[in-house]
Amino acid sequence: MVLQARAKKNAGACLVLGAAGILLLTTAPALRAEPRPTYTLYGTPGLIDMPTAQSAEDSEFGVNVSTFKGQVRNTLTFQITPRLSGSFRYSTIDNFTATGERLWDRSFDLRYRFLDETEYRPAMAIGLQDFVGTGVYSGEYLVATKSFGDRLTVTAGIGWGRLGSYNSFGSPFGPRPSSTPTTGGQANFGSWFRGPAAFFGGLSYEVNDKLTFKAEYSSDAYTRETTVGLPEDRLDRRSPINFGINYRYKPGIDIAASFVHGSEVAIGVNFSMNPRKPYRRGTTGAAPFAVKPRPSRQAEPEQWNQTWAENSEIRTALESATVSAFESDGLDLVALELSGTVARVQFRNLGYDALPQAIGHASRLLTALMPASIEVFKLEPVVQGIVPTTTTIRRSDVEALENAPNNSQLSFDRAKIAPGGSIAAETAPYVFPRLSWRISPDVATSFFDPDVPIRADLAILAEAKYDIAPGWSVTGAIRQTLIGNIDGGPSSNSVLQHVRTDANIYAQASGPVIARLTADYFFKPSETLYGHLSAGYFEQMFGGVSAELLWKPVNSRLALGAELSYVGQRDFDQRLGFQDYKVATGHVSAYYEFGNGFHGQVDVGRYLAGDVGATISLDREFKNGWRVGAFATKTNVSATDFGEGSFDKGIRLDIPLTWVLGKPTRREITTLLRPITRDGGARLNINNRLYEQVREYHQPTLENKWGRFWR
């Protein structure tokens, strides 16, 4: 059953995956024994409409746009593990209702390849198409694919649901419960593999490394498209045989053209990329300063006998020289404490996405700056005025390993990583207090409104941060929208407090608005505890007071946190005022690094609408900083009260800009995609929560990125 989808604003995205057009990045050609899989019109690896048991390369990302006869399917597919792939699709079908109206639909797919292909056995997979949602494309399948030689693959399978609608041979698992109109968005467990089943199959033939020919027998009768809707615009399905060709324009860009249903031409474009394989390897940033070996004792005895350490003029001069040298190399010196043999250096990493690269640069600079008697460098990167870890490196090791074989591993083995202490009593001049600011363009987006599927606002964002003292800061941003159409979005029909669904009204505010303005205090009560107190306007819709505590030892996979906030909903004009609605919201959280590239998070607590429940997130994280994940929240709000979608869920993507540009930078592209944004399961958006800030200073991130130490 189908719902006329009226979507709501998707809050929180800052750059859209539609930038895939700009991220025209390629994968390295895979060394495959079997022919390379191509993508279907559904944006999944397979034939034309029918799936196969093939998987894309592990961690491959596909963005697919395909169209035929009034249908447009936009699909994001991610190979989550070598066997499991997931897809999110936003599609439109014209002439869907009896009166010829267009449907906009969101769907999720999963496929699991449970058997690998061997010499005599085909690969086999099981799949769920559109398993969470209104069910327009719903179908399940069991499929086998065998390759013969390195060009030909043959596929055969059994489909249920939509994939069992043509020429079915019976219902092996009983009847399919008819889905009654509901709020949608829920997995229809009771329907899976029920109802009529039918065979499907096909073959693909790789003519050369650019051209693949595909033919299939489709078990999808397109019942609705051929029988409902205005008669003159219905799909005319004359044949279950579909033919297609796939043209590989470049590695990572495929164009498909097919003749489907005996009556229609289908066109599709697929962009694929792989976080593990950037288009440009390495970075073209400036070479680091070279190590400067120390003068011998005979040549410069004053540097060796440590008496320089008692001369305050020398110490001041050393500090100034270090400030300048660090500044020219993307680092910001916070404090320098010198004894005769140890230099304790606290600094902020401004320029490098990989913290070990900042540590490596600092180490080399110190070999040139520090008098010869200094043998030990204690490097303490600082974030928000606190020191999560101390990395201790011997100067002799830096000198010996600069161009030595295996220097990456050896430098890691010899470095000692320990919990950090506190900011030194005497900081470098001009570090506190200090004002920093930036003005930049900003894009906000809103998707899935059937009237205007992509809404966007372009704005100017002026951000500033005033660091008052170690841990104390005031930070804010003012936003002025220049042009956009998010304010034209539909009004909310939610029965809950409109904690998130009045985005269109917020977007109507004219003039500059306070995007955020908070006073923050970050502190580190012990080696494993971090704290954050904050007051002010946290985000577009809420402001108040918040307190957060995080327990995270340097080497632990597990971290635990607790956050409690008391906030009020802000006035629509987003200046200083509040509406009457106030709520106490908070969560306890557990974060866990599984160690194989997967990261999990569970948050339990009370959400902005006063509902109580839990959020589960699972992300695949790559050592270069890419993150792809999904989350879902279930609270005590009923599906009916929640509204369309039934419960909050979404996918998120983080792409480090260094990966895109090949130059060192700390910026990243962050995208959050919710098929629908409602008021249940809504969490306060605080942009400087502790875990994300502290993680990169701890293990395993330090070890994961240590390869960049000598870069």
Partner: protein, 228 residues
């Protein structure tokens, strides 16, 4: 569509705004005439945009002799670009040479052990066997190259190399003629094979000229030691 137009340009603007993070160390090489003549070529070496400047039309022996710091002419064949390397710091016998725009090559007795600023840089190489193999101009040895993969992890390539001499050649470098021994290093590893060439000055063992393979993406660099 208007919406898509400003939308795309907004993304482009935001992405560009995000790439203001690069900083570069102060170049401490002297601003000699050679340097100022070559700024455009340095840019080409770094970004790979072909800048077909012919160094033989710009350099002269007088210009080279006037430089206070030793100079190496470097050319990246696959990127069709040239640059000038100036001698910099030396640490434990390894010398680092730097261009005006902060690309470096580090050498162990003339053999490249690392590069920085070329993109897919040679992170470090174990060339001890190569150095002795070239000096002998015979025998075999193993070379090890470390690179960073797409996930910033070190990948190691192990190359089996053999060394031989093809005799003496007269090479002219900006009006000075040298009689150099041409040594060839043939290396093989599963997946590819390469050939490095060295033109050695017999008296000093110095490489007056060489053609060395830096990596799968950067390919070969051609080096000429210009200073007398």
């Amino acid at each position: 569509m208007k919406l898509f137009a400003f939308f795309t340009s907004a993304i482009v603007a935001t992405v560009i705004a995000g790439c203001s993070g690069t900083t570069s160390p102060n170049a401490d090489a002297d601003e000699t005439l050679i340097v100022s003549l070559y700024k455009s070529s340095f840019e080409a070496i770094r970004t790979g945009r072909p800048e077909p400047v012919d160094p033989y039309k710009v350099f002269t022996r007088e210009l080279i002799d006037s430089s206070e710091v030793p100079v190496i002419l470097a050319g990246l064949e696959s990127r069709e670009s040239y640059g000038t390397l100036f001698k910099g710091l030396q640490n434990r016998g390894i010398v680092t040479w730097r261009t005006e725009d902060n690309i470096t090559l580090s050498f162990d007795r003339g053999v490249v052990v690392s590069s920085r600023g070329l993109g897919d840089d040679l992170m470090v190489a174990d060339v001890r066997n190569a150095v002795s193999g070239i000096a002998r101009a015979s025998g075999t040895g193993v070379r090890i190259h470390d690179y960073l993969d797409g996930e910033d992890q070190i990948v190691r390539h192990s190359l089996n190399c053999s060394y031989r001499s093809t005799g003496y050649e007269k090479i002219s470098i900006f009006s000075i003629v040298y009689n150099l021994k041409h040594v060839v290093e043939d290396c093989e590893t599963p997946g590819y094979s390469i050939q490095n060439d060295y033109w050695v000055e017999p008296a000093s063992g110095k490489f007056r000229q060489s053609r060395q393979w830096l990596g799968p993406d950067v390919d070969y660099v051609f080096l000429q030691h210009l200073t007398r």
